[in-house]
């Protein structure tokens, strides 16, 4: 529907230089109004308590100029690239190369992921970063079930991450339960909270759903901060046990893994173990999601994203469909949370702010709402990109923002916007569906 209706409107869109200039001027005017108070006039409480202010018209002019120039550039880029389903502007050979890369990208990434600890064994920093990226890949895949597949905009995903982390932390420190016992418990508890969130929002969609889930995330965080006796409040929980290899600790004690194997102890062992642990958990998430997509429940999630009324007309139980989506997504968030707690050894409410939810959501949207590979790529770019610009702390957000805007202009449906079908009637259909996707889609 949208693909059909989008075409004529795009063709009718004005594109002359007058139009670009006009658009840039409007943007600049808006920027002038906005920034004249925010940047142009700076106020501060003076030494006597009075208000002193000074003007920064130079900065203001620079900013407005940037907006003007940027607007022109963006418009030019937009016209050059065209909207998303413009596969036709990509020349045929490039297209073939891309589809070849597309076919081999996922397996190549997987093999590379398995080799990371071997290649970078001596680079602790890279290993740590890889673990972080994989954690976000897992969170992204988890949220993808809710947002990407079921189409339920969830801004409070971090709540389940927190529930998982605190479940493990508290169960382990208070009752001495091991990581492997706590991991499923953390998942179950998070899923339980997912259902709890699901019930009140059953009737909500879109913006309203987003607001309620956002509030839910904040409520969980506030409860954690204020329930001092249980959670330690802002001080958090420390001394969380490290994971063990099925009971064998990874330290330099006498019955540690290194001693048992008769090799020299190195702290890297634990890092490598953590790496493979999160890799396995992320892959499990991926595998479960891919399997679910081919079952009636997974199809029902996607159908729900497409058209809720049609789902009802087909006799799909919308209530259970939504609740299972929330529960499944939350469960993966809970697993990731438990991993986070055991990796850090210390957790506090500060790790579970709205920013985390926003980051994971950005990963899912950027990845292409529903594409597993897209989410993994997005997590890699975003978290990796963040680290790349760590040196330029001030400009990090700026570069990040610009990159995001450019990407969304270039590929409004995310890195991998194409949705792989899950039902095949004939063996040769996989090929014809590719054709359809490129030709008429």
């Amino acid at each position: 529907m949208s693909a059909i209706s989008a075409r004529p409107s795009h063709a009718a869109q004005p594109s002359g230089s007058a139009f670009i200039l006009k658009k840039a001027l409007i943007s600049a005017a808006v920027a002038l109004v906005l920034f004249s108070l925010m940047i142009g006039v700076r106020t501060e409480a003076g030494p006597q308590g009075g208000l002193i202010y000074w003007t920064r018209f130079g900065d203001l002019a620079a900013l407005v100029g940037t907006v003007f120039g940027g607007s022109i550039i963006i418009e030019l880029l937009r016209q050059w690239w065209g909207p998303v389903d413009k596969e036709h502007i990509v020349p045929k050979p490039v297209q073939a190369a891309m589809s070849f890369a597309g076919r081999w990208l996922a397996p190549a990434l997987l093999v590379f992921a398995f080799l990371v600890p071997v290649i970078f064994y001596n680079q602790r920093y890279i290993l740590d970063l890889s673990i972080l990226v994989l954690t976000y890949v897992m969170l992204g895949w988890g949220l993808n079930v809710v947002v990407g597949l079921a189409g339920l905009l969830d801004l409070g995903y971090v709540a389940f991450y927190a529930v998982g982390a605190y479940s493990y932390a508290l169960l382990a420190t208070n009752f001495g339960l091991s990581f492997w016992v706590c991991l499923p418990l953390a998942g179950i508890l998070a899923a339980f909270w997912g259902v709890l969130l699901g019930f009140p929002v059953l009737r909500l969609r879109g913006d309203y759903l987003a607001i309620v889930t956002l509030a839910f995330g904040e409520i969980i965080r506030l409860v954690i901060i204020n329930w001092q006796s249980l959670t330690g409040g802002p001080n958090g929980v420390s001394g969380i046990p490290r994971p063990t290899l099925f009971g064998i600790p990874l330290d330099n004690s006498d019955d540690g893994l290194a001693a048992r194997l008769g090799i020299d102890f190195s702290p890297t062992h634990r890092i490598v173990f953590l790496f493979y642990l999160i890799l396995a958990m992320a892959l499990l998430t991926n595998w479960v999601t891919i399997r679910l997509r081919r079952l009636p429940i997974g199809r029902a999630w996607e159908a729900l994203r497409e058209d809720e009324v049609a789902c009802r007309a087909l006799g799909i139980n919308v209530t259970t469909t939504k609740l299972t989506a929330f529960a499944t997504g939350a469960m993966f968030g809970g697993f990731a949370g438990a991993f986070f707690a055991t990796r850090q050894g210390f957790i506090s409410p500060e790790s579970f702010t709205f920013q985390e939810s926003a980051l994971v959501l950005a990963i899912v949207v950027l990845g292409g709402m529903g594409s597993q590979l897209g989410v993994a790529l997005a997590a890699l770019t975003m978290i990796g990109g963040f680290e790349l610009f760590r040196g330029f702390d001030q400009y990090r957000m700026l570069v990040f923002g610009i990159a995001m805007v450019l990407l969304m202009i270039w590929r409004p449906r995310g890195l991998i916007g194409h949705r792989a079908p899950t039902v095949f009637l004939e063996r040769n259909q996989a090929i014809s569906s590719d054709l359809v996707k490129e030709g008429h889609g």
């Binding site: 199809r299 996607e302 087909l314 799909i316 259909q429």
Partner: protein, 249 residues
């Protein structure tokens, strides 16, 4: 089948009232659909035709009255369980899943009831025999189909649950006469060959009444006229309200 099963209608709607908030859309509706019948429901915009279809399906729920399917009371049964009883509907405005392929859309229909692999295959055969154009487009995204093909898909999707009662809401809406005729022909084929029972809601009164064994006319939430298709077509009030002045088939 017992003796009563042969005499009771497949679907009986008795004195059903339904409302959206304070607005009463159905004010005591009685209709009956016998096994193997095509029944047409015609009426002006806003008469409550779609509401009746949805009320049979359990949403909105009937506030008063009784709905019986195959002799069993289904008035309070939730929507997803009604689908299990093998009542299927193709809702107003088609509502296929635009980003899903034709094959997936059809599979969604099959998911509504538990069916074996063989039954699914047979269902696909039947849909493709009825609408060969769908077979050529199995891998195409639903949203890129033409309006007529989307309507075929919506009907095909409903058929995939192997319904005992098929309810169609305005299947000819927005279709060129030729395609509309194809759709009506398909419905007739289903009825003649498989003995499928059909309730069809239509604006296109001429076509619908010619196709149907019996028809009902609905005005403002009430059934005002009932009779065989041929009878209704001859009624002067019908001719005035739905044929001469309105859209012709």
């Amino acid at each position: 089948m017992s003796a009563t099963a042969a005499t009771t209608p497949l679907l009986a709607v008795r004195g059903v009232r339904a409302a959206y908030g304070k607005i009463e859309a159905l004010k005591g509706v009685d209709i009956e659909i016998n096994r193997g019948e095509i029944v047409a429901l015609i009426g002006a915009n806003g008469a409550g035709k779609s509401t009746l279809m949805m009320t049979i399906f359990g949403r909105p729920r009937a506030r008063a009255g009784r709905i019986e399917f195959d002799g069993n009371d289904i008035t309070g049964v939730p929507t997803h369980e009604i689908a299990r009883l093998r009542i299927a509907q193709s809702p107003e405005g088609r509502r296929i899943f635009p980003r899903m392929s034709v094959a997936e859309n059809l599979q969604m229909g099959a998911d509504a009831t538990e069916c074996s692999e063989a039954e699914r295959e047979a269902g696909l055969e039947r849909v493709f025999a009825l609408f060969p154009r769908l077979k050529e487009r199995v891998a195409q995204r639903g949203g890129t189909l033409s309006g007529g093909e989307q309507q075929m898909l919506a009907i095909g999707r409903a058929l995939m649950s192997r319904p005992r009662l098929l309810m169609l809401d305005e299947p000819s809406l927005g279709l060129a006469p030729l395609i509309a005729r194809q759709i009506f022909d398909a419905i007739r084929t289903l009825n003649r060959q498989d003995g499928l029972t059909v309730l069809i809601v239509e604006q296109n009164a001429n076509h619908a009444l010619k196709l149907a064994h019996r028809g009902y006319v609905m005005v403002n939430g009430l059934i005002t006229l009932a009779g065989t298709g041929a009878e209704l077509l001859q009624r002067p009030e019908i001719r005035a309200a739905y044929l001469e002045g309105g859209r012709r088939g």
